[in-house]
Every structure is written in C-alpha cells, then in structure tokens.
C-alpha cells in the first residue's frame, strides 16, 4: 500500500493542474476546488507516511526506484543510469510535512483571483516541484524539480503580483537560475568523483554519500571537496537569500500575492537549507568543518545585518522577509558548529521559520485585503476593528522573536547551544539578533495594532470562518513544537546523529 505513495504525493498536484487545463475558463470556484483536492490528498498521504514512519531507522523509507535515463559512455566506458527514485528519511520527513501543510493552507488562503484557473495551474505545478525537491533521492531528479519551480514562480509573480511584478518576476528567475548553476556543477562533479571510487556512475544520493564516506584521501582530495563545497555554498547563499545575494527575497515577498508569499517563505526558500543539510553536511562534512568559521561569520553577518535592515522597513512584507533572512542566519551558525545540538537547531529553525513565515504572511495578507495596505505607518489601532487577526499577529510575532513555549524559542536555544561550544564570541554577537528581533517585531506590532484607529480602518471585518483554519493550524503546530520538541526532534535525531558520527570519524 505504501508502494507508490510518494509518487502520488509528488504527482497528484501536477495531475490536478492537467485536469484544470480542461475546466472552462469562466468558472471561478471549480479551479479552487480542484486545487484544494490536489493539495489535500498529498497532505493526507503525508500524514499516513508520518504515522507509519519508523523514526528509529537512519536509512530511507518508502523508497521507490526505477531506471529512467541511460547515458552511454558517460564515465569511461560505463553508462550513467539516472533513476526515478524517491524516498523519505528523518531529515526530509519534516520538510515533507511542512510542504504538505503550507501548500494546502496556501490554497485556502487564496482569495478571488482574476484568471483563477491559470493561477491554480501554476500553483499546482509549483507544488509538484517543491515535493519533488524534498523527496528525490537522485541528484538529477532533484535538480529537475528545482528548475521546475522557476517557471510557475515567474508567472505567479508576473501575472498576479504587485505594481513591479514584471521586474521582480525576472529578478527571481535570474537569481535562482544562477543559483542552480552552482548546484548542478557541484552535483555532477560529486557524481564523477564518486564514480572514480566505486567504478559505477550514478547520481543516486545514497550511493554518492556512501562513496564519499569511504573514499580514500588520494582519490577524492580534500581540496576537491573544499572547491565543490564552495561552489555549492555560493549557490545556497543565493537560493536561501543570504546577504549579499538576498535582494530577490524582499522584492518577491513584497510583490507576490499572499498565498505565494506563504509558499515562498514557508517552503521554497527552505530548499537551500535542505541542500546544505543533505549535500553539504551529508556528503561533504569535512569541507563544512574546514569552512566552519567562514560559514559562522556569514551566519552572524546575516543575523545582525538583516535584523538591522528589518528595523527600518516601512512595509510589513519586507520586514518579514528580512526577519526570515535573520532567522536563517541562525541556521548557518548552527550548521557551522557541526555538533548534534547545532545541526538539530538548524533543522528546527528551518522548519520553525517555515511555519512562522507561512503564518505571518497569511496574516499580513489578510490585513492587506481589508485595509488595502501593508505599510506599517498607514496602519494603526487594528486591535479594535479586528481583534482576532491582531491577536494572531501578536502570537506569530512573539513566536518569531523566540518566546518560550513556541517553536522559535527551542530552535534558537538548540542552535546557539551548539554554536556556543564551537564559536563562543561569534555566537555572543549572534544573540544580538534575538534582541533586535524583539525590537523590530514589537515596534511594528505596536504601530500596527495599538494606538488610535484611523477613520478609514474603523468598522473593517475581522477574521472569517475559513481564515481560522490556516491560523489555528499553524499556531497549533508552532506551539506543539515549542512545548513538545521531541515530536520533531525524534524524527531528525537519527539522521543528524549519523551525520555527526561521520564528522568524528
């Protein structure tokens, strides 16, 4: 029964997009219904997988594997066999669940759109790409799904975005297009080196990981690993919108429609972090170790710089984008520590930031729908006309700045615990980010929800019934991870330990 569940999860959204192609254009509610089903079913399946997942195991589970492409003479006289292979382990499971939740809620959060049918077609193609990235066990397949997210994103921003949509859509495309260059160079180089060890050319992640783990130092030199890691790391910096390659993210968040902002902040920009864990730490741990200080420094720069920039933002969406960058800086710091706590904190932070971004962008979208603006200065006293939305916004902001009992807190604790062991001084500087986060978030909150309500904001409606679903689900998950961290910790623990032991040996 579990046999093809992963394939179903990946391709149901695409199937939904195909079906939508045949729905008449005039109708507005049908496309949404199809999109809802096409994202709800994968969510259910992901739930089934989670229920059946054996977290005591390190390896991949629910795997599917078929040969797909045969390329003769790719490595000496050997063929390269590219596989269609999917699987989940403790690292990808949280990302799978995150994708399932956020993409479904994204559909719920979508209001009336012009050209609704096309919107959902692109949205569903994007969802397939996202699932594919986290479930692929073949590097080629991963790359294919990663590229697959580019086209729908271009249209989703370009057609349904704000006033600078065309320019920002192109910016998104070029930035991420260039990032994939680095990823591809690194991937194929890894595959060729692994082939030199094993004599068989493959792009299978597991096989390459094993080959690198047991490779003698003269076949795969450490300078090769360092070079490849630098290329990969550069790509991740772009992919993950780190300073100085971050400018596409605030622009994207500012211009994209609400549900797309949720998916970008919640899932899409986490792909870079996933690559860092899976390929960086998983395949090239000694290179990560070698560049640990560099990674930590870049992490701290991002934590502090993005927090400072967030303070001067006038638009909520840009503020949240910089806040996300600042939080993802913590992930870099945690990874640089290269110990159990640090890595685990990194994964926690990635997931937590995904959930919080999803929630925050949803709320800001809901406010924008009512007030017509996201400029902090133009808002004020929202707690009076819409106490529920304002209340949830406060909860989300508190979660984001790391209030105990919510996911942000445990993530920061773990990451900094790991980081303090390795880089006490840098980590101390990094904690500045926590303080700054409190400043910019609470300040923005205060200006938005408190104070006198301006005349045109008076009498605006509060949350509708359907809007409770995303808010309650996301807040519940954030609090669940906050008060019962082992629900996430148990999942990733084994995979992370297996990475950590490899560093030691």
């Amino acid at each position: 029964m579990m046999g093809n569940l992963l394939t179903l999860i990946v391709f149901l959204p695409l199937l939904g997009a195909l079906i939508l192609g045949f729905v008449p254009r005039s109708n507005d509610s049908q496309p949404k219904a199809v999109a809802m089903i096409a994202t709800l079913l994968p969510l259910l399946f992901a739930g089934i997988l989670y229920a059946n997942f054996d977290s005591g195991q390190t390896g991949m589970q629910f795997t599917e594997s078929h040969d797909w492409i045969h390329i003769a003479h790719a490595f000496q006289d050997k063929s390269l066999v590219i596989g269609y292979s999917l699987g989940v382990d403790g690292l990808s499971m949280p990302f799978l669940l995150l994708t399932a939740v956020v993409t479904f809620l994204g559909v719920l959060a979508t209001k009336h759109m012009h050209r609704a049918k096309e919107f959902y077609i692109w949205y569903l193609i994007l969802v397939t790409g996202l699932y594919g990235c986290f479930l692929s066990l073949d590097l080629f397949l991963f790359f294919l799904f990663l590229e697959m997210t580019l086209v729908p994103m271009y249209f989703l921003i370009g057609i349904w975005g704000g006033d600078r949509k065309g320019q920002v859509a192109t910016k998104f495309l070029i930035y991420r297009g260039l990032a994939s260059v680095g990823i591809l160079v690194a991937f194929v180089a890894l595959a060729y080196k692994a082939a030199m060890v094993t004599g068989v050319m493959t792009m299978d992640m597991i096989a390459i990981t094993d080959a690198f783990a047991k490779a003698p130092a003269d076949v795969i030199t450490s300078s090769f690993k360092q070079g490849i890691f630098l290329v990969l790391f550069l790509a991740i910096l772009i992919e993950e919108a780190f300073f100085p390659f971050h400018t596409w993210l605030p622009d994207t968040h500012e211009q994209a429609p609400t549900s797309i902002s949720m998916v970008v902040g919640g899932v899409l920009m986490k792909i870079g972090a996933y690559v860092l864990f899976r390929i960086g730490v998983g395949i090239l741990p000694d290179a990560v170790q070698y560049f640990a200080t560099l990674i930590a420094v870049i992490g701290v720069i991002n934590i502090v710089y993005a927090a400072l920039v967030a303070m001067v933002q006038r638009d909520w969406r840009r503020l949240l984008a910089f806040s996300a960058i600042s939080h993802m800086g913590v992930v870099l710091l945690g990874v640089a520590a290269m110990n159990q706590a640090g890595l685990q904190g990194g994964v926690f932070m990635t997931i937590s930031s995904g959930l919080l971004s999803g929630l925050l962008f949803f709320l800001i979208g809901a406010i924008k729908e009512r007030t017509g603006t996201t400029i902090i200065g133009a808002l004020g006293g929202l707690s009076k006309p819409m106490p529920i939305l304002a209340g949830f916004l406060l909860v989300a902001a508190l979660g984001s700045l790391g209030l105990p009992g919510m996911s942000g807190f445990i993530s920061e604790i773990l990451a900094f615990m790991g980081a303090f062991k390795a880089f006490p001084v840098l980590s101390a500087v990094g904690t500045l980010g926590i303080i700054l986060a409190a400043v910019y978030l609470l300040w923005a909150m205060q200006r938005t929800t408190y104070g006198p309500t301006t005349a045109q904001l008076e009498g605006l409606p509060d949350a509708r019934a359907v809007e409770y679903v995303p808010m309650v689900v996301l807040v519940a998950l954030i609090i669940l991870i906050g008060v019962y961290p082992s629900i996430l910790g148990d999942l990733v623990n084994h995979t992370i330990s297996s990475y950590v032991t490899r560093i030691g040996g």
Binding site: I69, Q76, F145, E147, F155, L173, I174, V181, V185
Partner: protein, 511 residues
C-alpha cells in the same frame, strides 16, 4: 596504399547500397525540375512540394535501412566502415544519424513551405523545392565524405542552393539584402576553408582525411604553425556556416530577411550540416593532435555562448531574437567537441557524438515548432516584433502553449528535450574536468531566461494590442509541423531513453 583495418572496400556496383539516400534526393530534384517544364503552373505548384516531401521520406527510410548495413553481418563483417573509392565516401552511423536529421528537417521545412507558397504567389515553387533537395544532398555529402575535395563540393552545393533560397522573394528588399550578405560572407568563408584545406594538403600530400590524419601526426612537430593555420582557417570557414562568434554577424540579417521556412532550414539543417563537417574534419584529420588545437574551439564555444545570449537580450524582432538564440545554441553544440581536447579515452568521443546528436534532434523539434508558430502569429499581427505575441494565450491558447514549450525547451527548462540535451552536454564538461565551461553553459542559459521569458511574458502576461479577438486560422500544414515539434520536444524531455537507447547502440565510425 591498401586500406585501414576494420574497413570494408566496396565496388562501384555497391554505390546504390551506400548512397541510396543521396541518389534518391538528386533524382527527386531532377524529376521536379523536368516535370516543371511540362506541367501547367497550377499543378506544378501543387505537386512539387508533395513530391519533394515524398522523396525526402524515401531517403529517410533508406537511411534507416543503412543503419542495418553498418552493423549487418552480410554486408561484410560486423561494425565495419563501408567505403567507396578508397575512403573517399563512407557509410557509417555518424553519417546516418546526420542524414536522418537532414531529411527529417528538410521535410518539415517543405511542409511549412506549402503555406508560404500560398501566401507568396510570386515564388517559383518548383525551383524552391529542387534547390531544397539539392541543398540537402550537399549536407549529406558533408556528413559522409572523408575527402577534402568531396567535402568541399558538398559544402558548396549546400551553400549555393541556400544563397538562392534566402533571396527567393526577389522583390522583397530585406530578402535580397539577406541573400546578398549571406552570399558575400558565405563565399569568403568557403574561400577561407579552402585555403586552410590547401595547407593541409600541402603538408600531408593527401586530400583524404583518413590517410592524412597519420601524416598530420608525423608532420606535427615540424609543421606545427602551418598545420595550426590550416586548422584555424578551416575553423573560420566552418564557423561562419554554423554562426560561431565572431563569425556570426551575417545570421541576424539573413535570418530576418529570408522566408520563414528558409530561416528554419538555415537554423536547423544547414547548421547541423556545418557541425557534421566540423566533426568529420577535425575528429578524423586532427584526431592525433587534437590536444594541441582544442583550445581554439573552447575559446570560440565560450565566446559564442556569451555573445549570442547577451546580444539576444536587446532584440525586439522575434526572428532576430531566434537568430541570436541559434548563435548561442551553436556554442552549446560546439562544446562536446571542444572538451574532447581533454578527453581521456575513445569513449569520450562516443559520448561527444551522442551529445551533439541528441542536442541537434532536440534543436530540430523546438526550432521547427517555433518557426511554425512564428509564421502564423507574425502574419496575423502584420509585424515581426515581440508585440505580435501579446496576449496570444487569449487569442490562440494552443499556439501560445506550444510556443511556450518550444521557448522553454530552448531555455533548457525541465521536462523538455532542451533540458536533457543541455544536461547531456554538461556531463561532458565535468567529465573532462572543465568545470568553468560547464558552469558557463548553464550561467549563460540563466542569462538567456531573460529574453526567452520575454516571449512568454508577451504571450501570457500582457493583453493583446489588437482589439479584435479573432481566432487565428492555422493552416493544416503548419498545425502538423507544430504538433510534430510539440510531441518531439515533450517526448524527449520526459522519456529521453527513446532516443538515448538508439544512440547508445550506434557504431559511430563503424567500430
């Protein structure tokens, strides 16, 4: 001189067995030429392209049969190179693959031309058709000769026919300008190539590449500058034909001026023939010293990828845009050969030939499809700018989606043939550890997103400039071309093994 091992000499009576496709096309050309004299104008206009396509299909089928000859036991031992007149003309799978490309490409071009004839009553249909057939024959000779003289004859047959085809609309100023530019630059290119060939002959005393190759190795130390000069002159000459930077300047003007089907012919068949010639000449003639000359190919490939893509950024005319895009594609296509300079074994050659062939097939499908869509859209809009594509998704969803697939394939997006093709070529650059070149391949592709997505932007993001939302009428012949392009592009993108398996089993040079 008595042959080389692994080669089967054939008697002259075997000429049909080896040259059946070429003979069919020449016969077809002459038949159309003669029929035109006797038939009335109406039926000649109707019959000529149909006859042409028929002969191309027959040549296609005979080429498929020839794959059997190369590997067939009864034809004289497994996997041997069949040759005529002491290695003057050979039958191997390398030539066969290219012949398939040429015949399929020209057939699609003629299919597109049927509509062009209807729109332009002043064009002489029979003349146009037999020139196409002769040009294709020339291309075939370029893919199958091992002698500089026959190679040059093939090149000239293709080129001279093309010059006339470009200027087919005589009272059309741009057509004449394009034809003239192509004639002048093409002739200079031919002269350069010939000059280079003469040096090669001077040093080796041979016009035959198979025998000459051994002499090149012996003479290399002594005559290195002269042989390098010969290599470079030939490279320039051939480079013009496939529009490598900096020898590409003719192509935007010629592409813009030529009738759409002829542009498609230049972009696909003529370019593929140029690459057949480049591969044939350099892989045979310079195989022994390739490590010393490959760097020029690397430089040209890098330049072509960068300049082609950057120059395309500012184009507003869709045909000029596709011209620069086709320049950039030439850069990608040169990469497999260029990286062979750092190749480690003979397998790298087979890899390179597979890469070039796969990309050319992908390129055939996407380019033909794109030109077919372009023909319909620009005619309806009355201009050839990107504006013509505005709001196409509303007016003609099928055309818009098809064009999107073709453009995405050129940009190298997943699930299209172009993506697999690029990845395939990319493998070779990493295999030979030329990481920067592979990086450049995909980095310039990312730059190219800008203009490819400009086309998509016009089609899907903007509203139509034309107020009337008339349905666009698509002629049957163009619908078929678009459908073939669409099916080919998607099928190879999703199931690349359809072609990979076939390429994997080939005996490229008979081995």
């Amino acid at each position: 001189m008595n042959g080389i091992n692994g080669v089967t000499q054939l008697a002259f009576s075997d000429v049909w067995r080896v040259m059946a496709p070429e003979i069919l096309l020449v016969l077809g050309g002459f038949l159309i030429l003669v029929l035109d004299l006797f038939m009335n104008k109406e039926s000649s206009r109707r019959l000529s392209p149909q006859l042409g396509i028929l002969f191309l299909i027959a040549a296609f089928v005979m080429t498929i049969r020839n794959f059997g000859l190369v590997s067939d036991q009864t034809a004289g031992g497994t996997g041997e190179l069949l040759n005529l007149s002491n290695m003057l003309y050979v039958l191997d799978d390398f030539g066969n693959v290219f012949k398939l490309l040429f015949t399929a490409g020209t057939a699609l071009v003629l299919l597109m031309s049927i509509d062009f004839f209807k729109q332009n009553p002043e064009v002489k249909v029979a003349e146009y058709t037999y020139l196409m057939l002769f040009a294709t024959t020339g291309a075939m000779v370029m893919a199958s000769s091992l002698d500089l003289i026959t190679l040059f004859v093939g090149l000239e047959l293709l080129s001279i026919s093309s010059y006339v085809l470009v200027a087919m609309r005589r009272n059309h100023a741009k057509s004449a300008e394009g034809g003239m530019k192509y004639l002048v630059i093409g002739s200079i290119a031919s002269a350069m190539a010939l000059y280079g060939m003469s040096f090669l002959y001077g040093v080796t005393g041979q016009t035959n590449l198979a025998y000459g190759a051994q002499t090149v190795i012996q003479m290399w130390l002594q005559f290195k500058p002269l042989l390098t000069l010969a290599f470079l002159l030939m490279l320039i000459g051939f480079g013009v034909k496939v529009s490598l930077v900096p020898f590409h300047q003719w192509s935007p003007d010629t592409y813009e001026g030529a009738p759409n089907p002829v542009t498609a012919f230049l972009a696909v068949v003529s370019k593929a023939a140029g690459f057949a010639l480049i591969l044939r000449t350099f892989l045979w003639g310079f195989s022994g010293v390739f490590g010393d000359v490959y760097i020029y190919l690397v430089i040209l490939a890098a330049l072509t990828m960068v300049v082609g893509n950057v120059a395309a950024l500012s184009q507003k005319n869709i045909k000029r845009l596709l011209a620069y895009s086709s320049v950039a594609q030439a850069g990608y296509l040169l990469l497999p050969l260029a990286v062979l300079g750092k190749g480690k074994s003979i397998d790298n050659i087979w890899l390179a030939l597979g890469q070039t062939s796969f990309y050319l097939v992908a390129y055939l499908f996407m380019t033909m499809g794109a030109f077919a869509v372009l023909t319909v859209v620009t005619r309806q809009a009355g201009n050839e700018t990107l504006e013509a594509f505005r709001g196409l998704w509303k007016r003609a969803p099928f055309l818009a989606v098809s064009m999107a697939v073709f453009v995405l394939s050129m940009a190298g997006m997943p699930l299209t043939a172009g993506f697999i093709g690029k990845f395939y070529i990319f493998l070779g650059t990493i295999n030979t550890e030329m990481y920067w070149l592979g990086g450049l391949l995909f980095a310039t592709s990312a730059i190219a997103f800008y203009y490819y997505f400009g086309v998509l932007k016009a089609m899907f993001l903007k509203d139509s400039a034309v107020q009337s939302h008339d349905k666009i009428q698509v002629p049957v012949s163009l619908t078929v071309t678009i459908a073939i392009g669409l099916i080919g592009t998607l099928a190879l993108g999703i199931f690349p093994d359809l072609l990979m398996k076939f390429l994997n089993g080939l005996h490229w040079f008979g081995q």
